[in-house]
């Protein structure tokens, strides 16, 4: 497979976007879905072949996977040494990501054929999906940090377009703006981080950047680690700021507030955002720069604790939400938190690299079961026309396929063997156990909570009360909605057996892993306990959940209100930032900046108003001015003459 065909992987969705975006609504309305799906199918086949070639034929040099620069094109050449390039870099995580992204996106494309059928802006929807896929593929294949930033922003803008797809709904508009502003705000940190790192290493290219900043004897590293600001080295600042950008996209605390609201978009889009694109971008970014992170303990500690806190925080909130998509949103945040702290506890290379491998493994398995959960939820919403749990219940007879696949996904995310989530979560817990006991216990508790809230969701949708949804003709949905569910369910079972430990590791060397059954006992027991608890509370309609909620009192209400994070943000923005910064700035703008300009203008107008009477149009007045003037000059000259 030639290098140019690799470029087709992101370029095919881009072409789809251009074609559907320009001509879709007018001419291609009927075929938009087919065009988008076929182009993505080709793209995913190419990425599968590319990944196969990389992993099994060309990628290994001396038994170590090396990054390969497949394409390099000098884009903006400022000076001979400074240029911004566009390139494609192949390495294990990029290979894994292109397969996951194209595959999940393909499933979403197929699912949307049925789900979005009859929408007025059907072609526009597919154009946006293609743009989203293109951005994410470009992001994972980027060969330098500036290129990744550009695609990063493209991901931001395409998520904005998709979340705001129902733009006639005020809540969707608000949600899309919120997502865009919050992630954009975090991206400011990312940009400053890029500038710091690139300035210290004097390069934008990933390979060179990593090589220069992980060599303790190189002058670049000495400079970066030596320069400090408020007692923290420039390198740590750069990395923490880059992580800030990653936290924004990955919805880590405290930038998670956009994620639940992003549910306003069409449900398949949520599957795409949560499983393959957008939220994993932050994890990918940290993984991409992992060697540098691993060299800087302080930055890695930040990653660990932010990840662990987000995992627990989101899991607690997820237990109290009643909107099924919001539960899934918080569960995503929680799982991304797992991936983050797993990176945080890892070291570069060898046995210590377990956390890195585990994080990538979890990203891989999570992509399948989370997209399955969202697509399943989409199918449920398609039938019930509501997002609220109280409108559901007893759906297992109405939608058998959705029921079974959803159950598989729930078992996978809860970490029950032999489903995919079990394997990746075990690795993460093992990595945490070996390096940070506190994080380990947080993770363990969270995994129990995960099982509880996922099965709360499952029982509320499919069991609980008797179904009162009337069969409205379209039943469980079209074939194009069922097929992706089945494929993803199969993968949610099998993905755990994927030999990722030998393929995707921090240093390119295969890693020996083994499942320690004794160790696995605790998390699995906790997960089972969570499931049993959920089944006793939610399997049939009763008042126990209500009683527990009343007993917990304040804690339950706080969690139900998402710990008042939105209110806190509103308070900070509207009361503090608006009053202390916005209003003074507006005052200065209105009174000082505009005021000085208005003063000039007013003075000029005033003066001209006063003297314009001189130009009266009366010839004899002019003549007398002239006469007086000449007389004046004459007197002056006579006076000077003497």
């Amino acid at each position: 497979m030639s290098n140019y065909s690799i470029a087709l992987i992101p370029l095919l969705p881009l072409a789809t976007f251009v074609v559907l975006g320009l001509f879709g609504r007018k001419y291609l309305s009927a075929f938009a879905g087919i065009i988008g799906t076929i182009s993505l199918l080709i793209s995913s086949i190419i990425s599968l072949v590319t990944a196969y070639q990389y992993f099994f034929i060309s990628g290994k040099i001396n038994g170590i996977y090396q990054p390969i620069i497949a394409l390099k094109y000098s884009w903006l050449q400022f000076t001979p040494s400074v240029s911004i390039d566009m390139g494609i870099m192949l390495d294990p995580i990029a290979m894994m990501m292109i397969v996951v992204v194209t595959f999940v996106s393909l499933m979403v494309h197929i699912f949307s054929l049925g789900y979005m059928k009859g929408e007025e802006r059907f072609a526009t929807y597919y154009a946006f999906l293609a743009l989203f896929t293109f951005s994410m593929l470009g992001l994972v294949l980027s060969s330098n940090i500036f290129q990744i930033y550009m695609f990063w922003e493209l991901v931001g803008v395409s998520s904005f377009l998709l979340i705001g797809y129902y733009f006639d709904k005020p809540s969707a508009v608000a949600a899309s703006k919120k997502a865009f502003i919050v992630t954009r705000f975090a991206d400011l940190g990312f940009l400053i981080g890029i500038l710091i790192l690139a300035y210290s290493a004097e390069t934008l290219d990933f390979g060179t950047l990593i090589a220069r900043l992980t060599d303790a004897s190189s002058p670049y590293f000495v400079n970066a680690a030596g320069a400090s600001f408020i007692g923290i080295s420039a390198l740590t600042w750069g990395l923490v700021l880059v992580f800030l950008g990653g936290a924004g996209k990955s919805a880590m605390f405290p930038f998670h507030i956009w994620l639940p609201d992003a549910m306003e978009g069409p449900t398949p889009v949520s599957a795409l955002i949560h499983a393959a694109t957008m939220v994993v971008a932050g994890v990918f970014l940290v993984a991409r720069l992992f060697p540098i992170f691993a060299f800087d303990a302080a930055a890695l500690t930040v990653v660990t604790y932010v990840g662990a806190f987000s995992a627990l925080f989101a899991a607690i909130i997820a237990c109290t939400q009643t909107d099924i998509k919001r539960v899934l949103a918080y569960s995503t945040m929680s799982q991304i938190g797992y991936m983050m702290f797993s990176l945080g506890v890892a070291k570069h290379g060898g046995e210590g690299g377990l956390g890195y491998m585990a994080s990538m493994f979890h990203l891989f398995t999570h992509a399948f079961f989370k997209s399955l959960l969202f697509l399943g939820a989409g199918a449920v919403i398609h039938l019930v026309h509501s997002n609220e749990m109280k409108d559901m219940g007893g759906l297992r007879k109405l939608m058998p396929i959705t029921h079974i696949t959803f159950l598989i996904a729930c078992l996978a995310i809860a970490g029950i063997p032999p489903f995919a989530g079990f394997f990746s979560k075990e690795e993460i817990l093992l990595a945490a156990f070996h390096s940070n006991k506190m994080v380990f216990f947080v993770a363990l508790f969270t995994s129990g909570l995960t099982a509880f809230y996922m099965f709360r969701l499952y029982f509320s949708i499919f069991w609980s009360k008797e179904s009162h949804v009337h069969e409205n003709g379209h039943g469980e949905g079209t074939l194009s909605m069922k097929i992706p569910l089945i494929i993803l369910a199969v993968l949610a079972v099998l993905a755990g057996f994927f030999p990722i430990a030998s393929l995707v590791t921090s240093d390119g060397l295969a890693l020996e892993t083994h499942i320690d059954y004794l160790f696995s006992l605790t998390p699995v027991a906790l997960a089972v306990a969570g499931i049993l608890l959920a089944s006793s509370l939610y399997k049939s309609e009763n008042t126990k959940p209500q009683n527990i909620a009343t007993t917990l009192g304040g804690l339950y209400i706080a969690a139900h209100k998402k710990f008042y994070m939105d209110e806190l943000y509103l308070f900070i923005t509207q009361k503090i930032i608006f009053n202390l910064i916005g209003k003074p700035a507006a005052w200065i703008d209105k009174n000082i900046v505009d005021g000085s300009m208005n003063l000039f203008a007013d003075t000029t107008a005033q003066i001209s108003d006063n003297i314009k009477g001189l130009q009266s149009g009366k010839l004899q007045q002019y003549a007398s001015y002239f006469f007086v003037g000449v007389l004046g000059f004459m007197l002056l000259f006579i006076y000077l003459w003497n």
Binding site: K612, G613, Q615, S616, G617, K618, L619, Q620, S624
Partner: protein, 104 residues
Amino acid sequence: MNEIGLTHILFLSAILFFIGVYGFLTRRNMVTMLMSIELILNSVNINFVAFNKFLHAGKLDGTFFTIFIITIAAAEAAVAIAIIIHLYRSSKSIDVNDADLMKF
């Protein structure tokens, strides 16, 4: 009988000049204003002739200039009267205060 001196002639020309200026500034009738300009020009002519006689008796420069000025005054009168006629046609008036369109 004594020859009339330079001072007298200059005095005459000054009186003529100021009469012209006064007429130009006070009269509203454009034809009268034109006549005032002629007075100013003629006062200048008198100056030229007088200075030529008393300061450069052997030369003719001042006289030449006088002839030039008379010629140009004739041309100027033709142009000015043409303008006045046009103004009269458009505004039915030769009052200079009625021709004040060119103002702020």
